[in-house]
Symmetry: C2
Subunit: 476 residues, 2 copies
Amino acid sequence: MSDPFVVVGGDAAGLSAASKCRRTAPDRDVVVFEKGQWISYAHCGTPYFVKGEVERLEHLLSLSPAAVEERGIDLRRGHEVVAVDTDARTVTVESADGRFEQPYGDLLVATGARAISDPIDGASLDSVFTLHGLDHAAAIRSYLTPPEEFDPADLGGGEARPNAVVERYGAMTPPETVAVVGAGYVGVEMAEAFEAWDLDVHLFQRTGYPVPGFGDAVGETVAEHLRETGVTLHLDEEVVELRGEDGHVSAVVCESGSTLDVDAALVGIGIRPNAELLDETPVERGASGAIATDSHGRTSVEGVYAAGDVAEMKHAVTGEPTWDPLGLPANRAGRAIGATVGGDPTPVGDVAGTAMVKAFDLEAGRAGLLDEERARDAGFDPVSKTITAGSRSGYYPGAAETTVTLTADRETGRLLGGSIVGADRAAIRIDTVATALGAELTVAELERQDLGYAPPFSPVWDPVLVAAKVLNGTLP
Amino acid sequence: MSDPFVVVGGDAAGLSAASKCRRTAPDRDVVVFEKGQWISYAHCGTPYFVKGEVERLEHLLSLSPAAVEERGIDLRRGHEVVAVDTDARTVTVESADGRFEQPYGDLLVATGARAISDPIDGASLDSVFTLHGLDHAAAIRSYLTPPEEFDPADLGGGEARPNAVVERYGAMTPPETVAVVGAGYVGVEMAEAFEAWDLDVHLFQRTGYPVPGFGDAVGETVAEHLRETGVTLHLDEEVVELRGEDGHVSAVVCESGSTLDVDAALVGIGIRPNAELLDETPVERGASGAIATDSHGRTSVEGVYAAGDVAEMKHAVTGEPTWDPLGLPANRAGRAIGATVGGDPTPVGDVAGTAMVKAFDLEAGRAGLLDEERARDAGFDPVSKTITAGSRSGYYPGAAETTVTLTADRETGRLLGGSIVGADRAAIRIDTVATALGAELTVAELERQDLGYAPPFSPVWDPVLVAAKVLNGTLP
C-alpha cells in the first residue's frame, strides 16, 4: 500500500480534502493532524456566538470528530506538525505522547492563518482580544456575561472548551466601553455583537470608511448606518498603542495623539498565513507570504499541496496569484485536492474575492477588483459608476435603496468588479456579479442578462442591471 | 425632416423605445398611440393592488402622461391603430375624433397580449374575471370591498378609473367562495390576494402541480405551502365550464364531472399575443403566433419592429425563437429598439425565460429549459438533479430549506436551466443561474464560481453551488 495522504490542519480545507479523497479512493489511507482540539469550525460564525444569537460552541462545528472518523479518516487532534522533509517525504509530529516521523505519499498543508495584533503595542494586556477561533470567542462571551449569570456549561463545547480562560473572564466585571480596532468584517460584526450586550462601542479605522475592502460607496453607507445604531466611529484614526493599568487595558492611543478610556479592546486588523512550517523546505511562497499554488493546488514541490487561508490562488479577473483567505475557496480547493490525490484530477477554481458582510440591518457584498490602483497594476484602465436603485418595485412594501458600484475596463468593456449595499436582499445579489466576473462578461453583456423580475423581490431592472446600464453608457 | 418613429402601444416596450429614441436622437419625432387610457403600468403589480398592499391605481404607473410628454414624445391616448400599410409606410388610427392616416419612418408594434378565457364556457358571466390591466384589477377589488365601505375614490386612478364597472361591482355583496382557474403565477398570486380578503379559495390546475412552468420540485413545495395557508387545491382537474344563474357565476364544472359552487371566478389560464393588427401585412409570425423578430427586434419587413408580449425573441439556451412574454425582456427590447432607430444599433439580447413568483411566504424562481422534452427537441440530452440545502449557515437563525433543480446537457455539461424555491432569499438566487445560462457556462464551471458566503445570507456552499456539485458528479 502506498504512503498515506497526510493533511496538516483539521479545518475547512483540510477536512474537505480528507473527506473527498476517501470518497474518491476508498482504499487510500488518510491521516489528519490538528494541533488543537477544535476541528471543522465555522470561523465566520464566531461573532454571532459572541453576540449570543448562536447559543453553544458545538453549533459552530460542521463535523464532529466521530463523524470524521466514520469517514475512515485517521484524525489526530492535539498533534502538531513541526517540520516537513520534502526529500524524505516525511513530517515530524509532536503530541502529548512524544515526537514521531510520519511518511506521506501526498501532503496537504492547510494550516490556515492567525489574527495579528503585533503592530499595536500592548496587545498582550488583559481584556484585549483578537477573534480567531472558538477559544477566543468563548473567552469574550464569558467576559461579557455578568458573573452572577455566568455558567461555563452554558457555552457548550464539551471537553474542548478552554475552561481556564473562560472561568477567569467569567469571574470579571463585564466591560462597559470597548474599542474595536479595525473596521473590516470582523470589526463591524463584532461592533454589532458588543452593541447587543449594551456596551458603549468605539470603532477605529485608519482609513476614511469602514469595510475598506468593499469600496467607498459601501463604506459611506455602512458608516452612516453604524452611527444610527449608536456605534461611535473614529475614522482616519490609527491605533498605535493599548495602554494598561495593572496589566489590564485602560485606554487606546491613536497616532494622532488622541486617547480614549476603555475597559476592553478587540483587535481586528488582519490575518497572516501560517506558512512558517515550510520555511526550511524548498516550497515557494508568493508575494503575499502565503504558499504559491497552481491550478490544482500543487505547490512548487511534487507531492505537496496547499489550500485555504495559508495558500495563494489564481484571481478570476487578473489571472495572477492572489491571497484572498475566504471560506468558499478554502472548501472548494480542499475538495478539489482531495479528488486529485484520490486519482481524479480536479482544478481548484479561481477566486474573485467575493465576500458578504452584515452590519446590523445592512447587507453588503463585493467581488473582483474594486481598487482602481490594483486594477491599473493588473493592466486595466478602470472606470467605475455608482448608482442607487430600489430593491423591489417602488410601489411594493419593503423596497429599500440599494447602492451598486461596478468597475470595468474602458477599452474592452470587461467587468472587473462590483459592490452592493442595502437593507433588502442586497448581499446575495453580489453572486450575479461574481458569476459575471467568473464568466468574463463585458458590462454590455451583463446589461443584457435576463435576470428575474417580480415586484416583491426585484424591480424590472435589478439594481445590478441599472448599474451595468449606466456604466455601459459611459464606455466608448 | 424624416417621417416619425411611430409606436403602437403605450406600455413597457413602447414607452421604453420612445424614451430611448428621444434621448439618442433628440431631433427625431416620436408618436405613441395607445388605445386605452392607462400607460406604462406595472402589470405584475396588479395582484398586490387587488390584495390591498398597493393602495392606489396610480402607484402602479411608472410614468405619468405628463412625464412622457416632457420627454418630447407625442403621446396619444384613446387612439387605436387599426391597420398598417407597410408599402405606403402608414398606419390607420381611430379615435373619438375620427380616423386618419399616420406616416411612419420606423414603426414599433408593441401591442402586448391579452388574457384568454375562451376554452372555458361561461367566461362572460358576471363575477368572472381575468386579470390583465388596471381596469380588471379595479373591478375585482371593488367587488371584494363590502358595499358599506366602498368608495371609488379609494381606488385612485383619477380620470382613467373605469367608473361604470367599478361602481357596479362596488355595490354588490362580496363573494365568499372563489375559484381560481389556472395555477400559474397569476393564479397563485391571486390566491394570495383573495385569502387576504378572507375568501374560501379554490385553486384549479389541470396538471399535477401549481406553477407548472417552474418544474415539479417547485410545484410540490408550493402545493404543500398553499395547503398550509388554507387554499384548497384541485390538481389534475381541468375546468371546462363556468355555470351561471341569472347571468352570475354559480359553479365551476370540471372535465372529470366534479362541480363546485362558487360566487366568483378568476380565470388565469394564459395569454395570447395581440398580433392580429399585422394579419393583412407581410410581417411574419413565429410558430407561437407572436411576431418573429431578429437580434435587433426587426420584423421581416424593413422599418417595422416588434417588442414586448407581442413578439418572439431568441432563447438564450436553444438559440431558437421563443415566446416568453415577461417584463424585463419587453423593457430591454424596447430600449434597444429605441436606440437602434435613433441611430445607435443595439441588440435586444436573448431571453432565458427567467421568472420569479411569490406564493404567500414562499419565493420561487426559474430560468432556462426545465422541461426535458423541450430540451430534447432542442437537441440536448438533459439530465437533472434536485437538492435541498440551507439558505444560511445551519446555526444562524432564519436558515430555511431551499430546493434547487438544475438541468444540464449530459454530453457537454452545459447548463440548460434551473429552478429554486424556499422562504429565505430564494427567488433572487435565480439570477445566478440566469447569468450562468447567459454566459453558457457548464455545470462544472458553475460549481467553481466564487459566490459569496456569510452566515446570515448564505452557507459556505450556496444552494445553487450544492446543486451544481451534485449534478456535475453525475455527468460523465
